[in-house]
Symmetry: C3
Subunit: 470 residues, 3 copies
Amino acid sequence: MTSLAPDRYFDPDPTVRKLARTLYDSIADLPIISPHGHVDPALLADENATLGSPADLFIIPDHYVFRMLYSQGIALEAVGVKPNDDGWVETDQRKIWQIFADHFYLFRGTPTGAWINEELVTLFDIQQPLNGENAQAIYDQLEEKLAQPAFRPRALFERFNVEVLCTTDAATDTLPHHRKLQASDWQGNIRPTFRPDSVVNLEFDNWHENIDLLSEASGITVHSYTTLIDALQERRSYFKEMGATATDHAALTPFTVSLSPLEAEAIFQRALKGEATPHDTERFTGHMLLQMARMSIEDGLVMQLHPGSFRNHNDALYRRFGRDKGADIPIAVDYTHKLRPLLDLYGNDDRLTLILFTLDETAYGREMAPLAGHYPSLLLGPPWWFYDSLNGMNRYFDLVMETAGIYNTAGFNDDTRAFASIPVRHDLWRRASANWLAGLVARHIVGEEEAHEMARAMAYELPKRAYRLE
Amino acid sequence: MTSLAPDRYFDPDPTVRKLARTLYDSIADLPIISPHGHVDPALLADENATLGSPADLFIIPDHYVFRMLYSQGIALEAVGVKPNDDGWVETDQRKIWQIFADHFYLFRGTPTGAWINEELVTLFDIQQPLNGENAQAIYDQLEEKLAQPAFRPRALFERFNVEVLCTTDAATDTLPHHRKLQASDWQGNIRPTFRPDSVVNLEFDNWHENIDLLSEASGITVHSYTTLIDALQERRSYFKEMGATATDHAALTPFTVSLSPLEAEAIFQRALKGEATPHDTERFTGHMLLQMARMSIEDGLVMQLHPGSFRNHNDALYRRFGRDKGADIPIAVDYTHKLRPLLDLYGNDDRLTLILFTLDETAYGREMAPLAGHYPSLLLGPPWWFYDSLNGMNRYFDLVMETAGIYNTAGFNDDTRAFASIPVRHDLWRRASANWLAGLVARHIVGEEEAHEMARAMAYELPKRAYRLE
Amino acid sequence: MTSLAPDRYFDPDPTVRKLARTLYDSIADLPIISPHGHVDPALLADENATLGSPADLFIIPDHYVFRMLYSQGIALEAVGVKPNDDGWVETDQRKIWQIFADHFYLFRGTPTGAWINEELVTLFDIQQPLNGENAQAIYDQLEEKLAQPAFRPRALFERFNVEVLCTTDAATDTLPHHRKLQASDWQGNIRPTFRPDSVVNLEFDNWHENIDLLSEASGITVHSYTTLIDALQERRSYFKEMGATATDHAALTPFTVSLSPLEAEAIFQRALKGEATPHDTERFTGHMLLQMARMSIEDGLVMQLHPGSFRNHNDALYRRFGRDKGADIPIAVDYTHKLRPLLDLYGNDDRLTLILFTLDETAYGREMAPLAGHYPSLLLGPPWWFYDSLNGMNRYFDLVMETAGIYNTAGFNDDTRAFASIPVRHDLWRRASANWLAGLVARHIVGEEEAHEMARAMAYELPKRAYRLE
C-alpha cells in the first residue's frame, strides 16, 4: 500500500470530486499510448539494461531537476553533470543524492516534485517523504530495488502497461536499437520518430558533420538541396519501414515560407561554405517545414511541430555543458501569420495531420484553437514542457476546448526522457481530464455518459487516432 | 417542461450555487437589450418571413457550426454551403441535417453545442439529445414547429422579450427593411448600426463598387477624400434619423494615425487608380478611425471598434466560398501604442463613447482595463466571438473588473446572426455574471445587495446606457 | 469589533476554507516586511507628522482612486488634484470627500474598494459602508480620529507591526529624512532604496537639472559618462551607508545592451547637448542597467527591475497635471531576448540578486518562471500594480509556482505610497497565499506541515532573504 491520496489532484468540491473519481476509475487502467517522447531505445533494446543508480534515475540526466537546483546556487558539477572540459564533476552517487534530498523542498508544489514523490511511492514503495535526513536510507532501498530484475526497463514496460512507445531519433540515426528490438522476440511495441532538425536547421551544432552522417545513413551524397531532399525522403522511408508513424520538428518560430528551388539551392550552397546568414537560416528552416508537410502527404507520416523555445539561453553554461541543461526559455509565438504559407499549400488536405504544440499559452485560445477548429489538417498537441502540469492542463482545457472541441486534439503525450516517470505523467493527465470533465458534468454542460466517452477518448483513443497507431 | 438543469453553468459549490441562483432569478426575465448583432432586418421587416428549414436555421448560415464540421473533414458543400463556381452543393435539407446530427458530438463542451441544445429544448421542446439516430425524427418535429405562425421571427421577437435590437448595416445600405419597419405598425424596436468598413478599408472586396454605392446612397459623388468625408457624414446622419445610435468598425489592428488632408487625399486618389499600397491602406484606415471618432463627438453616435481578426485566413476557401466561412483567425493586438493617437485627440472628451472589443485576451488586464479605467471616453465591450462562452466570460470578469470596475463596461451583446439563439446567449451571460457575483459575495468582496444591483446593471442597464438607448 | 468577515477572500469550499483559515491564522500576526514602496519618509521622520484630512488620506494623492473617478467623467480638479497652471482646484476637503463617496460604488469588486473599506473598518472603526448619504458623518468620525496622537504615522507604524520599511528615493536625494530618522531615538527601521531613473534615463523630465543635482549630491561634477558612473557609485555607497539594501529601476522594456565606453560616452555627450535620439536613449538605458548589475555584484545591493509601463499615456493630462495621474498603461514585454545581455554577463553570478517584476502577466509562465527557475541571480517579485489583487495573486501562484517554485520568488511587497493601507495589503497577500496553499493541501499536492512552512516563507522569510534584510 502507498501513502498517496486516492483523490489527489481532484477538485475539493465533493460533487466534482465524486464525479472525477468515477470518471478516473473508468480510465485509470487503460493501456498507455506514448506517441512522443525521448526515452533512449537502448534501454529497451538490451534486455539486461538497468536504470542505473538512484542519482542516474532521478537527477543527473533530468534538466527539470538540476535547473531548479542550479537556480538556487548549486553547481551542476556537484550533481554529476559533466562539463565538456577536464573540470571536476562529482561522481559519488550518494553525495549527489544527498544534495538533491537536502534541497528537495525546492520542488514543493511543482510537477517535478509530485512526479518524483509518486514514483518513489508507487514504483519503489518508499513510505516517507524524501528529505536530507532519510536520504541515505532511501538510497539504500532504491539501490536494492534497482538491482532486481523486476526493475529492468523491459519488466517495467510491461508492468506499466505501455501499448506503444515512440522514441525520437535524429534523421541521421541508423536505428540500431530499433533494429535490435524488431529482431528480438520481445513483444514491446517501440517505434522511432523521424527528427531532422540537425540537418534542416543550418545553425544546428555540427551541422556539417550531421550532413555527412546523413549522406552515410541514406547512401545519398548530400552536396545540394536536391540531394538533401532525396536523402531525407530516403530516410523517412527507412524510418517508416522501421515502424515510425510520425516526424517531429523543433523551430524557434513556426515561420514557414515557400522558396524557389533556385533560392533553396543557393542558401544550401552558402551553408556548405559556412556562409549562411541568420536570414538564410530562418528562410531555409521555414521552407523545409513546407517540404516536410509535402512529404507527409505523400508518405503518411504524421507531422509534429514544437516551436517557441529559445534554446541554450545561457551561453556560458551552453559552452561548458552543452545542450539541454535547463536553460531553454520560451518566447511569444505568432502562429496566425507564420504558419499561413504552409496552411495555404497543405492546410485543406486531410491526408496531412499536423500536430501543433506551444510554449506560449496565449496562443491556445487566440490562434491555435481557432486554427485547429477550422483546418482539416490540424490537431493540437497536449500542454508541453513547463505546462505539462495540473495548472497547465487546466488552462489548456479551458482555453482550447470551447473553440476546438476535444476531437481536434491529440490526447496526451509524456514527452519525457525519464522512462520510469511515464506512468505517473499519464496518470496526472487522466486525473486532470477526469476532473475537468467532472466540472462540465457538475455544471450540466455535458452529460455523464458523454463525459465517460470523452474521458476514454482523451486517455486512449485520440492519441492512437492522431498518431495513426490504430 | 424541459430537461435542462435549472442550475446549469453555476459553480458546483453549494454556497455559490445558491447565491448564483438567487441573483440569476432576479434578472432572468429582464427584457433583452441587443445593441450589437448581425440579424438580417428582412426577417423582421416582412411579417410573413420564416426561419426556413431546420438546416437553414441551425447549419447553413452559421460559420461557427460548419467550421467545426470542416475541421473534421466534412466538405462545406455537403452541408449546403454554396461555392461561387458552378460546383455541386447539397440541397437536400434532410441530408444536411443528418450529417450535422451524425457529428453533433464534435460540439461537446463547446458553447455552440450548448446553445443549439438549449434552443432545441427551450424553443422547440425537443426532449432527447440530438444524434444520428434520432436526426430525422427531430427534423420532423422542427419542421412542424417552424411552419407555425408562432415561430415567425416577429412572434419570436415578442416571445423573447427583446426591448431593442440593433442590426449591423453597411454605410452604403439604403436601409429598406428599416424603412419598412418604421412604416409598419409593428411595435418592435429595431435599429440600424452604421458600418463603413467596406468604403474606408481600401482593401475591402469590391472597394470601387462600394464607393459607387456610397455615392448613390448619399447623393454625393465620391471622387475625393473630401467628398468621401461628406458622403459618410451624410450617411451617418441618415442612419441616425433611422434610429441608429452607434457605428461599428472592424480593423486588423487598432492602429490610428492623423494624416494631413493632403496625405489623405493623395492616398485616396491612389486607391481610386488601384495603386494604393498596403502601407497606404493601413494609414488610411487608421486615419478614418480618427475621423469616425471626430464625427461621433459631433453627432453623438457611439463608436464600436472590433480589431484583431485576420479575416479569410484560408485563401483557397475564401476564393471558392467567399467571406465568413469560419476561417477568421485572431492575432495579438497592441492597444496601448496603436490607439494612442485617437485617445490623444479625443480620449478626454466625454461626448465620445468608444466601445473596445478584443480577440486577444492578453490585452484585457494589461491594456484594456487600465485604458478604460482611465479615459472618460472608453468602455469595454463584452467577450467577443470565440470568447462568448462560459470560460471566456469568467476570464473577462477576472481580468477586467478589478481594474476597470463593471461601470467601465458595456454589459453584454450577443453579436449573432442567428436570431433564434439570442435568448440563450443572453441567458448564458446572465448566468455567468450571476455566478461571478455569487463568488464575490461568497468571498465577502461585495455584499448581497450590491451584487443584486451589479447583476441588474450587467444584464440590462449598462448596455442601455453605453449605447445611448435610454 | 468590525463588520469584516473573518473568512474574506477564502474559497467558499468548506474544506479549502477551513485549511486556509488555519494557515492564515498561523501567519496573520507576523511582522510586516515592506521592502519596496513609496511612503514619504517625511511622514516618519517628523514625529508630529499627521496623515492630513480624510481626502488627503484616501483620495488626493492616490492615482488608483482618482483615475477611476476620472474614467467616469469627474474632473481631476474636482477631487483636489492640482493642475500646474493657475487653474481652479477644489480645496474644500468635505466636497472632495462627498464626490468620492457619491461614486464609491464604482470601486465595487476592485482591490482599491476593498482596501479602503477595510481601512475604514479596521483602522477607523467605521461600521457602515461608505456612500453619498453617510459621507459627511463618516468624514466627521475620520477627522476626529486623525487628530488623535494614536493616528500619527509613527504610532501607526508600531501598531502595524512593521519590522522594516524601505522607501524609494531618487539617486539625487540627499536623504535628509532618513538622516533625521537615524539621528532620532525612535526605533522604527526605515531604509532608503536607490532609484537612479531620473539620471540614467535620458528622456526623464528635467534630465539636465537632475544631472546637476547628482553632481551636487555626490560632490562629483558629472560632465561625462565616466563621471556619471563615478557619481552613481558614490551615491550608491552613501545610500548603503544610510541603510539601503536595494536599488530600483523602471524602464519601458527590459532591454539591456553592453556599450563600449566610447559609445556610452558619445551618447552621454549628445544628451548633454540635448541631441540624444530615442535610439540613443534606449541603448543608454539598456547599458546602464548592465552597469547597475555590475555595481550590485560589487556593493551587494539587491537590484529590482520594473519594466513595461508606458508612462504618461495621456499627453494632455500629463502636460497639465504631471506624472502619476493614473495614465500609465502596460505594454507587452519580452524578457527572454531583452534581458539576455545582462544575464550573459551576470546571470550566473550568485552575488547578484535581480528581482524581476512585470505588468504583462503572459510573461509569468512563459518567460519569467523559466528564467528564475534556472538563473541563480534571478528572483521574481510579487504581482505588481494592477495585479496586486486577489485574482492577480491567484494567477501569479498558478502561473509561476509550478515552474519556479516559491523559493525563486521574493515574497510580497506592497509598493504603496498610501502608508495607512500597508496592513490591509499584506493581509490580502497572506489570505491569498494561505488560500492557495489550502488548495494544494486539499488536492494532496503538498502536505499540511509543508504548507505551514511555505505560508511563513511567503509572508515573512522570503522577502527578508531576498532583500538581504536578515
